[in-house]
Symmetry: C2
Subunit: 291 residues, 2 copies
């Protein structure tokens, strides 16, 4: 299959590796605004050649958008008007409502809506760029497909096969449901980590002290604070309402925790932690399936 990957970063690069190895892709065309990323992707063997998107999509059976979510919204309507009848388009964005909404009625793009499948493979690391690409990044993780009834059965099937090749578990929900749940489970985690880093860096002007005192716990909790602001700012912008709601819930819970300390109600402090321990069940279930 001829496949174009638009965006040769961590996600696009990792998909390229697995699609080539599995034989699902026979020809991989890479597109990226960043010239250095294009050269790295060629050098690393992620793609067979580099092109620009209007030409790449014409030659492709499948087009994968692995660019920041604001760039997807910007590009998708015009891109859909350039594809042929037998081309399927999917995106890997971390938001879904604004992306599906950008294919509005009364444009040429809308007439191709059925050839687009909105999806989100829930995997990643805190690193960026083609050199961050990893084999098997997606194995055992979940791929969400949104609003599947808006896609033609043939195109939907092609994207389901794509994720099966990547060895992902498929889950279906509406774009709205996706964005609500992603705000709590993924986007809030990133904010808690970014802000924890800011708080500690703000107090500990002497970076050496953080380094001296950081056990394994600190490291795992702030790992996501290394994530790309260019990728995350548009996600928070597009999913602003749900993210603000999730963040407000988090702040409320933190204030309740603080109040238990201020009022010396340590039985309550302990009770909060005992409730939090229930997260074990979720993580154990994840490990049971994923590894």
């Amino acid at each position: 299959m001829n496949i174009s990957i638009i965006g040769l970063g961590l996600i696009g690069g990792s998909i390229a590796l697995d699609l080539r190895e599995s034989g699902f892709a026979t020809n991989l065309i890479g597109v990226d605004q960043n010239h250095e990323h294009c050269q790295q992707a060629l050098k690393l063997g992620l793609v067979d050649h580099i092109s620009v998107w209007p030409q790449a999509v014409k030659e492709s059976d499948l087009v994968i958008l692995a660019i920041p979510v604001n760039a997807i919204v910007h590009l998708l309507p015009e891109l859909m008007s350039h594809i042929g009848d037998r081309t399927t388009v999917t995106d890997m964005g971390s938001t879904k409502a604004q992306i599906t909404a950008c294919l509005i009625p009364s444009t040429r793009a809308h007439s191709r809506r059925g050839q687009f499948v909105a999806s989100h493979p829930m995997a990643g690391t805190e690193h960026s760029g083609p050199t961050a690409a990893l084999r098997g990044l997606f194995v055992g993780r979940t791929a969400v497909i949104c609003d599947q009834h808006d896609s033609h059965p043939r195109d939907l099937k092609r994207i389901e096969e794509l994720y099966q090749v990547l060895k992902m578990r498929l889950v279906y929900m509406s774009s709205q449901e996706h964005d609500l749940h992603a705000a709590y489970v993924s986007h809030l985690s990133h904010i808690s980590s970014f802000v924890l880093a800011n708080t500690v860096l703000g107090l500990e002007k002497n970076v050496g002290t953080i380094f001296d005192l950081a056990g394994g716990g600190f490291e795992s909790t702030v790992r996501l604070a290394k994530s790309s602001p260019e990728m995350w700012a548009p996600i928070f912008e597009q999913n602003r309402e749900h993210v603000v709601e999730a963040l407000s819930a988090y702040i409320d819970e933190l204030e309740a925790f603080r109040e238990s300390l201020v009022s010396k109600d340590f039985a309550q402090t302990k009770s909060f932690m005992q409730e939090a321990n229930h997260i074990r069940r979720v993580l154990e279930k994840m490990h049971g399936v994923a590894k």
Copy 2:
């Protein structure tokens, strides 16, 4: 050397493994209130035999307290009055100010203050009990020794050797400094994680949805939420003032982040994340030394 380890959990058990393997311990005596933990520790070969503390400390050159910080404050003064002239005592508690303060003047215990070395090996996992013990848990991590001038040189040297055997980096500071920095770098990480778990569990009544949507990011950020409430409640109680201060700073930063979203000042949102990215330097430095 005859060594008593009081508290056969993750920390006590892991130290036992490394002290035996290195030959630093020739005889390891285990003490734990939990009968099952004693049996597990014997079965796993962590210690040579089980005893009760008044007897164990009489037979030991070195006594290591690896119990929750409230239990240390409760036990330490009485324990110090039972040791002989050539016995050194150290503790592994995550707070230091209340522990050093419990050896107050005018008690018999105080006359032994010089034989006590207040310390904190900054390492751990989210698991508990003797079965969580790991070989090499401490390698490359930092051990903090507090108020070293209050310890006799001979006893201080013995504890420095202990941590060198565990392959740890030694850092010295006052108990007060330790507790302030630990609040930001370690204790706050745990609260952010416990409360993130509570927030997500509170919204996502259907645990399956968390499971479906949790990428690698969520997992690392909530890992510490599995930690033991029995161990952590006394830490937050003893270090209450610093922890409240750190938590308040964290809440303030979260509110500023939320405000950038509410007011649609996404340049500010991005700027917060760019600042947070500086944590890379700290983590890279840690990896450079630790691994």
